[in-house]
């Protein structure tokens, strides 16, 4: 039957990652000589490298081989398609793909289906025809930051958004989640929502311009951490670091460092390593013919100076922390 | 008089900053061969380019068979029956000879969709055969020598069956024998009623083929003469505004050897050996394609020497590039001015100073004052006109560009000057100035090699002449042995060639 185009944020056929074991039991035994293919968006961003580490970590644990490849640059849509098609041709048993755009890996879904290879769409662009999706709720990234503002800045004020690449699903959802949530109470106004193109320099310049126009700004929300770190510098450059808060998204290690140093206010970590592990687990369960829901939601959490030590440091196992948070 | 075939009526043309033509009027009868004469920069090419639709006149009109025309594009002029041979070669390097000849109005098949190359090549070959049957119409134009390319330009104008053909220095790269064939063609065209406007700085040609001449100076018509009833000197006086003295040849050759070439071989010349003395002017004659240009290019470091030695003032040189040659005091005035000579968008001054930037710099900076002084001095010496030193060189007439390149080597202090067709496209006045200049340079102790296709020129300036054929030197003629017949017979290989000494 025809699948409804997937909306990963609102798909009803979903479960939380924490329920995998409880609902489906331990990982079944897998066929011999088994190869998993991972197709990443780009390796130039730590987020995607961490995701690959997650794949590898879980694969090592259960003893399967993974190949993790990425397009040569972010935006190289056909290059990524070539990679994914190559993996189907070469007879990988299951694919984990993080498409550049919503559509560029569409043919792989079809080819893989014909070759009977399950495909898991892992974050953040969403292939409408995808049968399996593992990832977080993009909108929720923005929502969480907006909630922080509502709780911690009861007087409201002016806020600004630095967006990712125009037209990219994650950017649109994150921006929209933040904007609609924060404007709900009527206390906050989004005075600027400008493109930062995932680029530090552009975000720095945009933030400088915004701050100069609105020196009374209370905070920024940025669609990823790289841009947020650029904005932090812009805020510091005009000496407003005590008044203006800056939030990023992704939870890359530099963001953690910056939060620990008291510069970046917070980031919404979507735990790429853990996401990778979960995605790998889902893939393997699919190979073992388990019937999983279409969407498996992975965890995310707003990291600030207050809770950073729960997620980072000696002896902290993020998995356990999050499991606990999920109430398991 | 009946309605003229062609009438220019009060044509004026203003370029930003220059009035190139003012109030030019004259007419040409059907079948007339009409010379258009004038010094460099007089406005001849500008007038013809207006006629052929390349430029638009600022004022005035052109009448063809009594009907007024204002051509907006070259195509409209062509359709009105005008063909033009441009002074500068107008060719596209990656097309073949035939494609170039038919460019803009290809012969086609299948309703204009497919170029009929075979037919084009056949007709191109026909037209070429009238002057030079050796040119292969299917060869890419870039493999042709300049002279051959000029033949192609002429042949292109003959394709159209035009009623007016404007020829702007059609023979500037050609040898007398090719001119003779062109002259025959022109006469045949004339008897068929085709009118021809003929621009040339070669007076003998003009008197040989033309009936009447319009003389221009500084963009104005200064007179119209019947060439059958006028003396050359009189015409020249009209052109340059003064009498030209016929100068005698003076030799300044010494016995000190300045250049000693032994057994030089390049891709195109073989076994070249000769001596050049201080103060000597050595002429090099030969047919088109005999390797004269390549000889000069080898000496100037522009072409690779595969074997043999060159000594300058007794010192062995390794000429890996022109820079090395320039440093050794050798300067080349190249044959193809537009391609190898000028940097079109830079001023004459800069074009002049390019090889000798170091002489005009101090502490790494150009000393513009010194440069300006040198430019004023040297460009005056070559009589640059208009005398605007900051003007882009491309805006000067061809002849004046040539003068600037000569000045270049004076500025560089070169002692050995290699002139490849030095007076190509240069007016009679300037020509005699250049001859004079060559003599002065020789007297000052420069050594000069002059390659020229104009035998009178070779004989006028040379102390000694080498004749080349097929890439080798076939004869060496002393000044007393010089005559057109001797040179030509050696050049074509009829004389008892290869004398022992070379």
């Amino acid at each position: 039957q025809e699948l409804k185009p997937l909306n990963s944020d609102s798909e009803p056929d979903r479960m939380d990652w924490s329920e995998l074991e409880t609902k489906f039991g331990a990982l079944p035994t897998l066929p011999e000589a088994f190869r998993v293919g991972g197709v990443s968006k780009t390796l130039t961003n730590e987020y995607w490298r961490s995701l690959g580490q997650g794949y590898q970590k879980f694969a090592d644990k259960v003893g399967v081989t993974v190949a993790y490849q990425a397009a040569q640059s972010e935006g190289d849509q056909l290059g990524q398609l070539t990679i994914a098609e190559g993996m189907v041709t070469q007879g990988y048993n299951v694919l984990l793909v993080s498409p550049q755009t919503d559509a560029n890996l569409q043919p792989v879904i079809e080819q893989a289906k014909a070759a009977n290879v399950p495909v898991v769409n892992v974050n953040d662009a969403v292939i409408p025809q995808a049968e399996h999706y593992v990832g977080n709720v993009q909108r929720d990234n923005g929502v969480r930051v907006a909630k922080w503002f509502i709780e911690n800045r009861p007087n409201g004020g002016k806020v600004a958004i630095v967006e990712g690449q125009a037209g990219v699903y994650a950017a649109v959802q994150r921006t929209d989640g933040f904007k609609s949530t924060i404007e709900d109470g009527g206390k906050f106004t989004v005075v600027a929502s400008v493109p930062g193109n995932w680029d530090r320099q552009m975000s720095y310049d945009a933030a400088t311009n915004i701050l100069q126009q609105h020196p009374d700004l209370v905070g920024f929300y940025c669609n990823n951490d790289g841009m947020a770190l650029g904005v932090v510098e812009a805020v510091k450059a005009v000496g407003l670091e005590d008044k203006v808060v800056v939030f990023g998204t992704d939870g890359i290690s530099d963001a953690y460092k910056s939060i620990a140093a008291g510069e970046l206010t917070g980031t919404v970590d979507s735990f790429p390593v853990l996401t990778g592990e979960v995605a790998m687990e889902v893939a393997l369960r699919l190979v073992a013919d388990q019937k999983l829901p279409r969407v498996v939601a992975t965890p995310q959490a707003l990291i600030t100076k207050e809770n950073i030590n729960d997620f980072q440091g000696e002896g902290v196992d993020v998995r356990t922390v999050l499991m606990k948070a999920a109430g398991k | 008089m009946a309605v003229p075939r062609l009438a220019f009526e009060n044509i004026s043309k203003v370029f930003p900053g220059v009035k190139a033509l003012s109030d030019v009027s004259f007419d040409v009868a059907p079948g007339e061969i009409h010379a258009l004469l004038g010094e460099n920069g007089a406005g001849k090419s500008t007038l013809l380019r207006i006629l052929s639709g390349v430029f638009r006149a600022t004022e005035g009109e052109i009448k063809i068979d009594g009907a007024a025309h204002h051509f907006k594009r070259p195509e409209s002029a062509r359709q009105a029956g005008i063909a033009m041979i441009h002074q500068e070669l107008q060719q596209v390097p990656h097309l073949t000879v035939a494609q170039n000849m038919f460019l803009g109005h290809s012969l086609t098949r299948f309703g204009g969709i497919v170029v009929n190359r075979r037919e084009q090549e056949r007709r191109a070959a026909e037209a070429l055969a009238m002057i030079d049957p050796t040119i292969n119409p299917a060869a890419p134009i870039s493999t042709l020598k300049v002279a051959q390319r000029q033949v192609v330009e002429i042949a292109r104008a003959l394709l159209d069956k035009a009623k007016i053909i404007a020829m702007d220095e059609p023979t500037s790269s050609l040898t007398p024998s090719e001119f003779e064939r062109l002259a025959d063609i022109i006469e045949r065209l004339s008897t068929r009623g085709v009118s021809i406007i003929y621009v040339s700085h070669k007076m003998d040609e003009v008197f040989r083929v033309c009936q009447r001449a319009t003389v221009m100076r500084d963009g104005k018509v200064v007179g119209m003469v019947d060439l059958k009833k006028t003396a050359t000197a009189e015409v020249i006086a009209m052109m340059v505004g003064r009498e030209l003295l016929a100068e005698e040849h003076h030799s300044h050759a010494t016995t000190t050897t300045s250049v000693e070439a032994r057994n030089l071989n390049t891709a195109r010349v073989r076994d070249i050996s000769f001596d050049l003395h201080k103060g000597e002017v050595l002429g090099v004659a030969g047919l088109v394609g005999s390797g004269r240009t390549e000889l000069l290019r080898a000496l100037s470091g522009a072409d690779k020497v595969t074997s043999g030695t060159i000594k300058v003032d007794g010192k062995l040189l390794t000429l890996s590039n022109p820079r090395a040659a320039i440093a050794a005091g050798i300067g080349l005035l190249p044959e193809e001015r537009k391609r190898e000579g000028i940097i079109p968008d830079r001023s004459v001054t800069i074009n002049m100073a390019l090889p000798s930037m170091n002489r005009f710099s101090k502490g790494g900076f150009i000393n513009h004052r010194k440069l300006k002084r040198a430019a004023e001095d040297l460009l005056k010496r070559v009589n640059l006109r208009p005398f605007q030193l900051d003007r882009q060189i491309r805006l000067f007439s061809g002849g004046n560009q040539q003068k600037a390149i000569i000045a270049r080597w004076l500025a560089a202090g070169s002692r050995i000057l290699l002139f490849d067709e030095p007076t190509r496209g240069i007016d009679v006045g300037a020509k005699s100035e250049i001859y004079h200049l060559i003599e002065v340079l020789a007297a000052e102790g420069h050594s000069v090699i002059v390659v020229s296709s104009e035998l009178p020129e070779v004989m006028r300036v040379s102390d000694r002449v080498l004749v080349m054929r097929d890439g080798i030197i076939v004869a060496e003629l002393g000044r007393d042995e010089l005559s057109e017949e001797t040179i030509v017979s050696h050049a074509v290989g009829k004389a008892d060639s290869r004398p022992g000494a070379a």
């Binding site: 990443s40 490849q69 397009a71 056909l78 559509a103 649109v172 | 390097p93 170039n100 803009g104």
Partner: protein
């Protein structure tokens, strides 16, 4: 120097006699790459994979053919990607709205004509530099595609359209056949028609072309229109494959297309370029991508290899052609 002394191949009027020295250089480059990858990755030379390479190269080849014509005319077209994007989203919208396939295709190609006309007119009549014109339209067209779709992909391209562009005939992908036909047409255009000569003339010596009565403006505009129409066609091949049209489709296509044309011997100074060379260039790039993936080379090293292979291909070519 550089060009004038080089031994130019004498074009011949025989069909495919035009396989010049330059093209041979490119072919040797391609063979070298195929042999290299064939040794390193055994799957590489399987028939299936070679067809794959052709299919994967087809989009770039399609664009690069148009780019070659523009480059020959002395221009450059940076706006091919966004042009493709506009054509894609509009074609897809029409298809989704139930417009018959042929009409939708025509509309998409028509968009190409318009985009190309804008580029061409700005270059030919306004006299602006091609690089900067198409840099401007690169942004403008992309913005139009984004605004038109609100940034969302157009999903649900009907099967009829998809099988046309994504099907295969006797085992050969339709896209490959289409591009082969386009290449043949481009080759004929360049070698056999007056327009081909005009392109070479305008790019080779604009003044000479003008004096000879070549319609400069029309020639240039035609080149840009062809380039844009081929970009539109490439976008259809792509949406046929993807089943969806995105406004951000075609990102960085221009660089690949230019690279293919340049590897194939087109000179960015104009007046020179080869259809056969361009096709070989596109296949070289496609084979390289494919081979590196088969070898499971990590992304950073793929990037390194891409750069080095482009340089080496150009050098092999330079050496094979020989030069003074």
């Amino acid at each position: 120097m550089s060009d004038t002394t080089q031994n130019a191949a004498v074009p011949s009027s025989k069909l495919f006699g035009s396989f010049s020295v330059r093209d041979t250089g490119t072919l040797i480059g391609l063979i070298a790459i195929v042999v290299l990858f064939g040794l390193l990755a055994p799957d590489f030379v399987s028939q299936r994979n070679l067809l794959n390479i052709l299919q994967q190269s087809s989009i770039n080849a399609c664009l690069a053919l148009g780019m070659t014509l523009v480059i020959i005319s002395g221009g450059i077209d940076l706006s091919v990607g966004p042009t493709a994007a506009i054509a894609a989203v509009i074609t897809a919208t029409l298809l989704v709205a139930g417009i018959p396939v042929p009409l939708a295709i025509l509309a998409g190609l028509g968009i190409g004509v318009i985009c190309g006309l804008v580029n061409g007119v700005l270059v030919a009549y306004a006299g602006l530099q091609p690089f900067i014109v198409t840099l401007g339209t690169l942004s403008t067209y992309r913005a139009i595609a984004l605004i038109y779709t609100g940034g969302n992909p157009v999903l649900g391209v009907p099967q009829g359209f998809r099988s046309l562009f994504n099907g295969s005939l006797l085992g050969i992908p339709n896209a490959v056949i289409m591009v082969a036909v386009v290449a043949l047409l481009a080759w004929m255009l360049l070698k056999k028609t007056p327009l081909g000569e005009y392109l070479l003339a305008v790019g080779g010596n604009e003044e000479a072309a003008y004096v000879a009565g070549v319609p400069i403006a029309v020639t240039k505009i035609t080149a840009y229109v062809i380039s844009a129409v081929l970009a539109a066609l490439a976008s259809m091949i792509l949406i046929g494959r993807l089943g969806a049209a995105e406004p951000i489709l075609g990102n960085l296509w221009e660089l690949d297309a230019i690279a293919a044309a340049a590897i194939g011997g087109a000179s960015l100074m104009g007046g020179k370029g080869s259809v056969i060379g361009t096709i070989l260039g596109a296949i070289i790039l496609g084979a390289m991508r494919n081979g590196l993936t088969l070898m499971n080379v990590q992304a950073f090293y793929q990037l390194l290899a891409t750069g080095l292979i482009i340089l080496v291909a150009m050098m092999i070519d330079r050496v094979t052609r020989g030069r003074g």
